[in-house]
Amino acid sequence: MTGDEACAEGALAAGCLFFAGYPITPATEIAEVMSSRLPEVGGTFIQMEDEIAAMAAILGAAWTGVKSMTATSGPGFSLMMENIGLGIVTETPCVVANVQRGGPSTGLPTMGAQADMMQARWGSHGHYEVIALAPASPQEAFYQTIEAFNLSEKYRLPVFVMTDEIIGHMSERVVIPEARKIRTVSRPRPKGRKDRFRPYAAGPGLVPPMPSAGDGCRIHITGLTHDERGYPAMTVEAQRDMVTRLVDKIRLNADDIIQTESYLLDDAEVAVVSYGASARTAYAAVEEARRDGIKAGLLRLITVWPFPEKMVRELASRVKGIVTVEINLGQVFLEVDRCSRGGAPSYLVGHPGGTIITPESVMEKIKQAAGMKS
């Protein structure tokens, strides 16, 4: 099946029961699969009037205790940013898949890119942390969509599945395991007296328990800066407490959240860092470099946000050079470069989008990083 179809199946396997969407190439297939599959499992699909509404609807559904999701591509992702911010500040678990295409604006609707990575990181206003995963195959689109739901439930925030047109439209074998072999996580639920429940009293775990509308807790939820009761609090202290906790719940749990794959890095002299579709190119280039006698290795980011800083710093301290491969003109590269400061020089292999990056172009930079003439 395709990456888009696998993403939808992953959502169902994770227990998703609500999908609100809006058609957009190259993500439409996710909505199409959900429209036929969700009612079969007792869920609900609705096609909204735009992506703003789709994002608002999944937040509303999430507050009734239902795992919810939407899927889109660049232009729709832009429209969702407003309510993604509401999801962050109200700590609403949900999943947003962005099947990236070339931009800016309408760009290249049918052709892939990885140029929304910084938008995923900073696209909504204000200061916050996010979680973004980047599957590199249809099989991984299945598993990482499940993981996105699990992380969203555990840490209570919208989690991004940052796939791309290449993965979304690629057909590969996807194995769907038996339901009992799939690990699913549900949000922490409140205990104790409902009339004294404080929806944003998080405690040391930094993630507050989440009731559903209809539970009898009579919660008030607002996009305004709020206190532990959920009430608007227009003070510097309330802003500090709320924003700091929203940031810390991700930053301080980065080790639990971050997944990467290391390939031939133990003795590597040149490290290639990549993710999503480009990691497949990077993998081929590393293999080719090894055949040519260059000790190259690959750090594949499955989690892009929070950024795996520790791993990149460690690599930068021991390799001759780090090559970032991505389909944009330097986004995740900027983070790799920041984390390599004081260590190995960093290089970018990127292009503005519309096609994959070739192993040859990566090979050329690997040679340069290894100190060889290309």
């Binding site: 009612p39 009037e49 509404a53 009579r218």
Partner: protein, 284 residues
Amino acid sequence: MSAKHGTDTLEHPLEDLIRSDRMPHIWCPGCGIGTAFSACLSAIKAAGLDPDKTVMVSGIGCSGRGAGYANLDSFHTTHGRAIPFATGVKLGNPELNVIVFSGDGDLFAIGGNHFIHAARRNMDLTVICVNNLNYGMTGGQVAATTPSLKRTTTTPSGNSETPFNLPLLAYAAGATHVSRWTILHTRDLTETMKHCILKKGFSFIEVLAPCPVNYGRRNKEGPLETLKTYRDKTIVKNGAPPAEVAIDFKKNIVLGTFVDDDRPSWLDSYNSIYRKEPARDKPA
């Protein structure tokens, strides 16, 4: 919210539905939102709804603060997005009664697209629009409802545009209940709200409310004058064709219930086509 009379403590009749720990509210003296809000809570009570199964969703603006004062599961969302958020709440748990309480700027300018589509779908929501003819929260700017020639901070020489006739818009989009009252007509308003809350499908109630501090001041209209207009210039015409109820403060303002139809709600249709089972939302 309790008044002391000697040793007796009188409880506010809506005490259990108000977040009294959030009082005082932000609404200005002479503002009509509080009256519309009280009518809404009274209607919830009169309808006999379980408050634990009743949800209020608001957008942004003065009226958008409504959700914050209701002792219900209440959501103060983003500007214009109360209706799609409420749609998610309703579809996530069809047993919940979902009321959208917001203002004219929120529901009909930035949120206009969501309004017409929810009406078209006959989503089972009660949408209450407090129409104070301007953007109060930001200091009185022109709205999609500001009458022509009226002054606001962004129409210093008068509004050169034409306002929406909200009942006509709601009717044309497919709302199965459309009515209009003013905050002076609290009994009719409360009765209508009760009817809408109990009615399945998309209900829309426009509530005219004064904004003396922003709109009134710039148009030389004192708070009492606005209420006198509501008393003297209004005419109740139930069943009036929505196309004929555009507001004209000089001639007359038509109030009443203009539309009260029945057709399957979104969930009724979805369940019958996709689930082959009877509707799960409000029992008849």
